[in-house]
């Protein structure tokens, strides 16, 4: 199976444009709640059309909520082993992610991480995360 590549829509175009520039944005509702993945409506106000959530920049830092080291890849374009994780951003919402630039044995639940942007196909970047160890540089 080929690696699926993200295809932007009207409601998440701004997200993918930001990713292409190595920036992470997350939607915030008029009531101040963060929401992810992007939607055309606010989850906390689903009946009102004039309060569409807006994308706002985030620090891109968070912690590993859970992860699985994939030893048998069903996607030939993604070489095993890889660390498939769900990261909880400091804003509280979760994102699917890979933990990159780390040995799988170094990765633990609760570890702090920060966003990095990986080119998975020519011109196509994907938000991923790397360990944000205390005292480490860059």
């Amino acid at each position: 199976m080929d690696r699926p590549l993200p295809i932007p829509c009207a409601h998440d175009k701004e997200f993918w444009e930001a990713v292409s520039q190595d920036r992470l944005v997350v939607q915030k509702t008029a009531a101040g709640h963060w929401q992810s993945y992007p939607r055309a409506h606010a989850l906390d106000d689903p009946m009102t059309r004039d309060t569409a959530p807006r994308f706002e920049p985030v620090a891109g830092t968070g912690t590993i909520e859970t992860f699985s080291v994939v030893h048998r890849s069903f996607y030939p374009a993604i070489q095993a082993p890889y660390v498939f994780a769900v990261v909880r951003l400091d804003e509280g919402v979760c994102m699917t992610a890979h933990i990159v630039d780390a040995e799988p044995s170094e990765v633990g639940i609760g570890d702090p991480v920060r966003a990095t942007f990986v080119e998975i196909a020519p011109g196509q970047k994907l938000p991923c995360f790397k360990l944000n160890k205390a005292g480490s540089v860059a």
Partner: protein
């Protein structure tokens, strides 16, 4: 839920295909075999059937989008009631509840719920999991998720949060293999130990190969009819004491709590409808695609406290001689799992009440529980059953 109304319908027959590897057999052939088998088990024929519930559009199932029409056409029947609700692995249990509701309000008299799939060989149809890399799936599919990884995320978090160990997880496939050893149709019958599970290859951590279900080509069917009609048939009619279902999410990044399954919603709905508690259940068939799945079900249905599932399964409670025997036919971990095991979960729950388990028959089984999970921890259905 009005269980009195729902009890106008009864389950009167069931059939699980003995097939496990079908080579070049079309799934629709197995649909026919198991429906004929279930009707024969009940003492009914195709002429009695006026309702059909199937899912047949997913991996290896042989059909496409309008799956229930394709299967009806192949069978040569024109049902006046039909349903193709597809919420993954527990769909057959969900459809059985819908079939009972349809019978209770006169939409049909006799309904067949059937499932078949040949994922080992079937050459066409969907192969990608769950969603597309556009819209909601755009932030999930490019990362290469599989069902093994999705459930691995649950197990990893449970281990982190509650100290559940790989050895405790392994107790689940070990107990279930012991039941499979008695089932002539089970794909895997040789006894295994915790050490065998832990030394099998790591697939997606923390799951070793033996933490994961088998992949089979097979099928199954159950038949429901009106309670007044059921009295004259071959088998003791089975009634639903309680039922509950729930859906949550398919994109794993939307999971509210990685240590909780949707059984936390469907279980209480079923027990409340029945006026029963887990202590009343004699035997439980708990969907077991992975070692973590029945462990979460035991917690979320209330057989043990949240976080104590690891110690509970390792205590021997789930073995055939334990306080709550599970997956007495050998489950999906050892016997039969073409993709949507809910049908076999239900069939084994029924066989326990009829005294017909091919694996480990429990003595004096009065209350039987069937609990299915679908998708990536996405859906659950819980059914409590007893003889009428």
């Amino acid at each position: 839920m009005d269980m009195e109304l729902l009890s106008r319908a009864a389950i009167v027959g069931a059939c699980e295909s003995p097939r496990r590897k079908a080579n070049d057999i079309h799934p629709f052939q197995i649909f026919h075999e198991v429906i004929a088998g279930a009707l024969g088990h009940a003492g009914l024929t195709f002429a009695d059937v006026d309702g059909l519930c199937v899912t047949a559009g997913d991996v290896g199932e042989g059909g496409s989008v309008e799956d229930v029409i394709e299967v009806a056409e192949y069978l040569g029947i024109m049902p006046r009631f039909f349903d193709s609700t597809d919420v993954g692995g527990c769909s057959a249990i969900v459809q059985t509840a819908r079939a009972a509701a349809a019978i209770a309000c006169g939409m049909a008299d006799t309904v067949v719920v059937a499932y078949a799939a040949c994922p080992r060989w079937f050459p066409v149809g969907p192969t990608t999991p769950m969603t597309w890399p556009i819209g909601p799936g755009a932030l999930e599919m490019p990362y290469g998720i599989s069902n093994i990884t999705a459930y691995g995320l649950l197990a990893a978090r449970h281990m982190h949060q509650f100290g559940t160990t790989p050895e405790q997880l392994a107790a689940v496939p070990v107990a279930i293999r012991a039941n499979a050893a008695r089932n002539p149709s089970a794909l895997m019958k040789d006894p295994i130990t915790v050490a065998d599970v832990l030394s099998s290859p790591m697939i997606s951590s923390p799951f070793h190969k033996l933490d994961c279900c088998v992949v089979t080509d097979s099928g199954g069917a159950v038949v429901l009819t009106r309670r007044d009609r059921a009295r004259d048939l071959r088998k003791t009619p089975i009634r639903m004491l309680g039922y509950g279902e729930a859906i949550t999410c398919v994109n794993i990044n939307q999971t509210a709590d990685f240590t909780v399954s949707p059984g936390v919603h469907s279980g209480p709905r079923a027990f409340n409808a029945a006026g029963l508690s887990p202590a009343d259940v004699d035997v439980a068939q708990l969907y077991d695609a992975f070692s973590i799945t029945p462990l979460l079900a035991l917690e979320d249905l209330g057989f043990c406290k949240k976080g104590e599932g690891g110690a509970f399964v390792a205590s021997g409670a789930i073995t055939a001689d334990g306080s709550i025997p599970i997956n007495t036919d050998g489950g999906g971990l050892s016997s039969n799992h073409p993709g949507k095991r809910g049908m076999f979960v239900l069939i084994e729950a029924l066989r326990q009440l009829w005294g017909e388990s091919p694996g480990h028959q429990i003595s004096n089984c009065e209350v039987s529980l069937a609990h299915g999970i679908g998708g990536f921890n996405s859906a659950a259905s819980t059914m409590l059953l007893a003889r009428s």
